[in-house]
C-alpha cells in the first residue's frame, strides 16, 4: 500500500504531504523568530539608551549578506522553475548558485562577528550586542542548514531525481520555500539592527 499524496496534490488543500510538512515547519520557525524579534523589541523599548546599529555595526558586510540572501532565494526559485521545464543543466547551475550565495552570507555574518569581537564588543558587552550576536548567529545556523539540504539534494538526492522525478521536484520546491523564508528573516534582521 502506498501512502497517498506523496507526489500529487490533495484536492481539498491543494498541497502534497511534503509541502504541508514544510509549511508546518515554517510556521514553527516563524514563531521562533517572532519570539526573538519580540524579545528584541521588548528589551529595546525598555532600555534607557540604545545605540544606532548603522553607526557601530559593519553595514557594508550586512548589505553584502542581504544581497547574498536575496540571490540565494532567487536562485532556488529559478532552479525549481527550470526543473519544472526539465532543463536539468540550468537547474543544477541555479542550485549551485544558491549554495555559493548561502556560503557568502554565512562568511559575511562570521566576518561581521569577528570585526566586532576584534574591537572588544562581545555578546556580554551589552544587551544590544547580545541581541545582535544571538539573532544573526541563529540566522547563520539556519543558512548552514539550508546549504546542507541543498547539497544533499544535489549530491545523493540525484538518485531520487532518476527514480521518482516528481517527488524530487516537490523536495526542491520545499527547499525553495525555506530559502525564501530565510531571505525574509534576514531582511527583517537588517531592518531591526542596521536601519531602525
Amino acid at each position: 500500500m502506498s501512502m497517498p499524496f506523496t507526489t500529487e496534490q490533495r484536492p481539498d488543500t491543494g498541497l502534497y504531504n511534503a509541502k504541508l510538512g514544510m509549511w508546518f515547519f515554517l510556521a514553527a520557525e516563524a514563531m521562533f523568530f517572532g519570539a526573538l524579534f519580540s524579545s528584541y523589541a521588548f528589551l529595546r523599548t525598555a532600555a534607557e539608551a540604545w545605540p544606532a546599529g548603522s553607526e557601530i555595526l559593519p553595514v557594508g558586510v550586512a548589505l553584502l549578506t542581504s544581497v547574498s540572501m536575496i540571490l540565494a532565494a532567487v536562485f532556488s526559485a529559478k532552479g525549481w522553475s527550470d526543473l519544472r521545464r526539465e532543463d536539468r543543466g540550468r537547474h543544477a547551475a541555479w542550485m549551485w548558485g544558491a549554495i555559493i550565495a548561502g556560503i557568502v552570507a554565512v562568511v559575511c555574518i562570521a566576518i561581521g562577528h569577528s570585526l566586532e569581537a576584534r574591537e572588544g564588543m562581545h555578546a556580554a558587552t551589552n544587551t544590544f550586542y547580545a541581541c545582535w550576536y544571538l539573532i544573526t548567529g541563529v540566522q547563520q545556523a539556519h543558512v548552514v542548514a539550508a546549504i546542507a539540504y541543498t547539497l544533499f539534494l544535489g549530491l545523493p538526492g540525484t538518485t531520487l531525481r532518476k527514480t521518482d522525478p516528481q517527488r524530487y521536484r516537490n523536495r526542491v520546491e520545499c527547499l525553495g520555500l525555506f530559502w525564501q523564508f530565510l531571505a525574509l528573516m534576514w531582511i527583517a534582521t537588517f531592518a531591526c539592527f542596521y536601519v531602525f
Binding site: 509549511w23 548589505l63 532567487v74 526559485a77 525553495g176 525564501q180 531571505a183 525574509l184 531582511i187 536601519v195
Partner: protein, 68 residues
C-alpha cells in the same frame, strides 16, 4: 501558498527594501556628502530595478506553467 507566490512576495519585499535603503543612501549623500553612501544607494536602487525585472520575468514564466 506555492513557491511562486512566496517568491513573488519576497521579491516585492526586497524591492521595497532596496528602494528604501537606496533612497536613504542618496539622502545621506545629499546631507553629508559621503560618496560611499551615494555608491551604495545607487547600487541598491539598481538592484531594486533588477529584482523588478526578475519578478516580471518569473511571473510571466510561471503563468505559462499551471503548476507554478
Amino acid at each position: 501558498m506555492s513557491l511562486k507566490a512566496f517568491h513573488i512576495l519576497i521579491i516585492f519585499v526586497s524591492i521595497v527594501a532596496c528602494c528604501a535603503y537606496g533612497m536613504w543612501g542618496v539622502i545621506t549623500f545629499m546631507r553629508e556628502g559621503s560618496v560611499l553612501s551615494l555608491l551604495s544607494g545607487s547600487a541598491l536602487l539598481a538592484g531594486g530595478l533588477a529584482l523588478l525585472m526578475h519578478g516580471v520575468i518569473f511571473y510571466k514564466h510561471a503563468e505559462e506553467d499551471p503548476w507554478l
